[in-house]
């Protein structure tokens, strides 16, 4: 395939950046993003138009006179960078007198990262990719009650170059793959949808990502379950135990651990939009976030997970850290600048979704570590409960306390055995109480590595991918209900 936007080497960018730097600044950084993507979909038997995207641009940040200014431009020529740097310097000077002081990063080190890649996207030709989608989409078509069906496949290749006037140079290349299947069955004024992990079975890598969760074979089961749910009873309403599958655990982790631990929320940056947090700075090191079975890591080193990287977008080296250990809250999701503001040690999680948005504190890979119980042991220990699969609705208050989540499919557990499937399972609770009711953690055989491709946060608004991995987990005394409650 022909090249659409010629990428500039890091050396070329460094030369232009160096030549364009204005006088009278403390430090400046240049973050260049080149991105190519391709999106394929077959919907209700029709191949939708192939859509490709080609993006390239840069954000410069200037620290000067106690202020910080930003300018984003798609003009990567030396004159374009010079104009952007001058604009950023003007912003730094104009806002310095009323700025939240952020020290320059002092970025002087170098490094690189590339996603693991077993089988490149292009190893499978376009017609072959389309044929695969047609085949699996056709497998969703199992009867008249299936009223909508869709198979899609996306890939993004993102190259990031971060340069500093202090000599730092970080180059990272990411390969992402996003497979998805969905079938909706409808009858008698009801509709039920089953999906392939609701988009969570994505990750870094190539075509091999499709095989991690059986994309080629999943369609018949997904369609059959959508129809089965139409005829299934509503989820019972009661206080009971729940067993949570990894493709619902990721949402539970994301909303009730990830967001409340973001240090910029705790510092108040997000109060006008995404919200604040019930967690306060004095809780780290002393607050019992969950039961002693709860171990949560920030782990950007997991191979192939959606948000793995070697450096964050400030250039901070990324390492695995326990945020919660044996239930005790240890450290926040706070990047270098937030750590200075709060006086708390954090992690390397300064991330931006694109060249035209500034980095903010983000989840990356946020994982619940595996425990020691087999799935049979977890099920066998439940007298009255429900096994919850695949998130389909989420809502939580702005302090990340009162939540209500719904799943695509539930399966009743009665006297230690799986029983009938139920539709519209939902549960609600309060974050701190919920995690303290964690009463069982699955072993490695129940563990799955996934991601959430669309996490919204920030002003300016940003959507970014976050990684989550979890085993099957059991929670006690949970308020569960169905669609009629």
């Amino acid at each position: 395939m022909s090249t659409v936007i010629m990428t500039n080497s890091a050396d070329t960018l460094a030369t232009r950046f160096s030549n364009a730097l204005p006088a009278g600044i403390d430090e400046a950084t240049l973050r260049v993003i080149d991105e190519e993507s391709e999106w394929l979909a077959v919907t209700r038997g029709t191949v939708e138009p192939v859509h490709s995207s080609f993006d390239s641009g840069a954000m410069v940040t200037v620290w000067a006179n106690g202020g910080t200014g930003i300018a984003a431009t798609s003009d990567l020529s030396e004159s374009g960078l010079r104009a952007a740097l001058a604009e950023a310097k003007r912003w730094a000077e104009a806002t310095a007198s009323r700025a939240i002081a952020v020290a320059p990063p002092g970025l002087a080190h170098s490094g690189s990262y590339t996603s693991p890649l077993e089988q490149s996207w292009d190893a499978m030709g376009l017609s072959e990719r389309i044929d695969l989608l047609r085949e699996v989409e056709d497998q969703l078509n199992i009867g008249d009650r299936i009223v909508d069906r869709r198979a899609s496949l996306g890939r993004r290749t993102v190259r990031s170059v971060l340069l500093s006037s202090q000599g730092g140079e970080i180059e990272q290349t990411f390969h992402f793959v996003y497979p998805m299947l969905a079938a909706t069955a409808a009858a008698n004024g009801d509709a039920q949808t089953r999906t392939y992990g609701r988009g969570s079975f994505c990750g870094q890598g190539g075509i091999e990502v499709l095989d991690r969760f059986g994309f080629r074979d999943a369609a018949p089961r997904i369609a059959a379950e959508a129809i089965e749910l139409l005829d299934a009873p509503n989820c019972p309403t009661d206080t009971m135990e729940i067993l949570v599958a990894p493709d619902q655990m990721i949402l539970q982790i994301h909303e009730s651990i990830g967001h409340p631990l973001e240090l910029d929320r705790i510092l108040g940056d997000e109060r006008n939009f995404a919200g604040t947090s019930f967690v306060t700075a004095d809780m780290f090191g002393s607050f019992q976030y969950g039961s002693e079975l709860l171990n949560v890591t920030f782990d950007p080193t997991v191979e192939g997970q959606l948000a793995s990287y070697a450096f964050d977008d400030d250039g901070t080296p990324a390492t695995r850290q326990h945020l919660i250990q044996d239930g005790l809250l240890l450290r926040p999701l706070g990047s270098a600048s937030s750590q200075v503001r709060a006086g708390i040690e954090g992690v390397a999680n300064s991330r931006a979704c694109a060249w035209n948005r500034p980095p903010i504190d983000r989840m990356a890979n946020l994982n619940v570590e595996a425990g020691e119980s087999s799935l049979d042991e977890l099920i066998g220990g439940i007298e009255h409960g429900v096994f919850l699969h695949t998130n389909n609705s989420w809502s939580i208050d702005d302090s990340r306390n009162k939540f209500q989540f719904s799943c695509e499919l539930g399966q009743v557990i009665r006297n230690g055995e799986l029983a009938e499937k139920v539709r519209n399972p939902s549960y609600r609770g309060i974050s701190r109480n919920f995690w303290r009711n964690l009463s069982g953690v699955g072993d490695q055989s129940t563990f799955a590595v996934m991601g959430t491709p669309n996490c919204g946060k920030g002003e300016l608004n940003q959507v970014i991918g976050t990684g989550h991995a979890a085993p099957v987990c059991k929670f006690s005394d949970i308020e569960v209900f169905g669609a009629d409650q």
Binding site: S74, W91, N272
Partner: protein
């Protein structure tokens, strides 16, 4: 950002390279944006963004492929980028089948709108915000600048819609989660109007200083301000009004369509392009009528029909974008004077904002979400105390149906403040809603 002449030049040049059987459709978004983000009345992040993306759809017969490309602003470079994209699209087209849902606007209508740029000086605005905050804990974001949407095709159609707007979306915080949210948006900065919003927020902030109360679960009468109603209607807008969602039983208004659910006869909802700030053409060059009535007298009327849905479901396209979501949604007002809303409420909840709504039972249009910001307990038509956050879980057929007591008479215009990828030119025009009862569950 680029101007219309620049964009037209790119597409005219590209058109000259097409083979005799090819058709080219091109949309564009371009913007210059200044932004300043505030926390505790101090600047957290501030800067400028310049960006231009072009969406290309290259058609031959019934086969076509699409791409989006970022322009650099350098004319030679941008011509090269467009040419390279067309080359890539041709290469891909060899591998794709006919698209049975392809439709091209064969009645091109060219339009041109460039709104006057009356934006204030950014330093003056930042100073006004700092003065307005005084010593209060202000958090929020200011964005301003010019934004244009465009369309051009090899068939000769040319559309350009450019506006210059500002949007200051902000909150005064008293403590923890006790806060008052407001916004000030428009085309030219009126300091007196901004001052009135500051005073209004300050009055509510004073009421928040009272001891908050926890309400037990249950049903309470409620008044939803236009901002609170906007959160619920925003959720519906994702997938309820589009033809594709309705034809595949995935619309949240499924029960309204099947007759299993009813809205109050006073409910009238429309896509009101004539009174919005979005362009009157969609991304494939189809024109938007001034108004598409979606619900009238509580009954469904039309859906938003994109060109693809029109072919697939044998309908007439009505200017909807491919996502079939409203851009300029309006709900007609009722007969309650907004100044009398709290008195009409009598005893119940005044809800300034709702937050994080989602479906708890989508086919039944049951919605859950949280109260947020200025929410008060009212007795005898007077504010008594702020209320700690509550979760609601209720059906639209209750909230805008059997439990709807009335709507305020003058719907408020709300600029969409979202900036995902680019600054939005969406808006809504909504009244407040007085409910006999609303269900709270946590």
């Amino acid at each position: 950002m680029i101007d219309q002449q620049y964009f037209d030049g790119l597409i005219t040049t590209a058109t000259a390279t097409l083979s005799g059987e090819e058709t080219l459709l091109a949309g564009a978004h371009t913007e210059d944006t200044d932004f300043a983000r505030f926390n505790n009345a101090h600047v957290r992040q501030a800067g400028s963004i310049t960006q231009t993306t072009v969406d290309l759809d290259l058609i031959e017969g019934r086969r076509h492929t699409q791409a989006t490309v970022q322009l650099s602003g350098g004319v030679d470079d941008d011509h090269d980028r467009i040419a390279s994209v067309l080359g890539r699209l041709r290469e891909q087209r060899a591998f794709v089948p006919d698209d049975p849902h392809l439709i091209v606007n064969t009645e091109p209508v060219s339009t041109h709108h460039v709104g006057e740029n009356q934006l204030p000086d950014r330093d003056d605005t930042l100073a006004a915000i700092a003065d307005g905050a005084d010593d209060r804990d202000l958090v929020g974001i200011y964005t301003a600048g010019s934004v244009a949407s465009a369309f051009a095709s090899s068939l000769g159609q040319r559309n350009w819609f450019e506006t210059s707007t500002f949007n200051f979306d902000w909150t005064f915080y008293l403590r923890a989660d006790k806060a008052v949210k407001s916004s000030y948006a428009g085309f030219d900065w009126d300091q007196a109007a901004f001052d009135r919003k500051l005073v209004d927020a300050s009055v509510k902030l004073g009421a928040l200083a009272r001891q908050p109360i926890d309400l037990p679960r249950g049903e309470y009468a409620a008044y939803l301000t236009p901002a609170a109603l906007d959160e619920v209607i925003g959720l519906l807008s994702w997938n309820s009004f589009g033809a594709r969602a309705q034809k595949t039983s995935q619309s949240a208004l499924l029960h309204l369509l099947t007759g299993q659910g009813e809205l109050a006869p006073s409910i009238r909802i429309s896509e009101d392009t004539a009174n919005g700030v979005a362009p009157n053409f969609q991304e494939q060059g189809f024109m938007r009528p001034d108004e598409v009535v979606l619900i009238e007298h509580g009954k469904p009327v039309d859906a938003l029909v994109s060109p693809r849905s029109a072919v697939e479901f044998d309908l007439t396209p009505n200017g909807a974008a491919s996502d079939e979501s409203p851009q300029s949604l309006a709900i007609a007002g009722g007969d309650i004077d907004a100044d009398d809303a709290i008195a009409e409420l009598g005893t119940g909840l005044y809800i300034g904002n709702l937050w994080y709504s989602n479906f708890s039972d989508q086919p039944a249009c049951r919605v859950t979400g949280m109260t947020r910001f200025a929410t008060f307990w009212v007795e005898g038509g007077e504010i008594v105390a702020p209320v700690n956050v509550l979760r609601f879980d209720d059906s639209i057929y209750n909230m805008l149906g059997s439990q709807l007591k009335g709507l305020t008479s003058e719907p408020e215009f709300v600029f969409d403040n979202s900036t995902y990828g680019q600054r939005s030119n969406g808006s809504s025009r909504l009244p407040g809603a007085l409910l006999e009862a609303m269900r709270f569950t946590l």
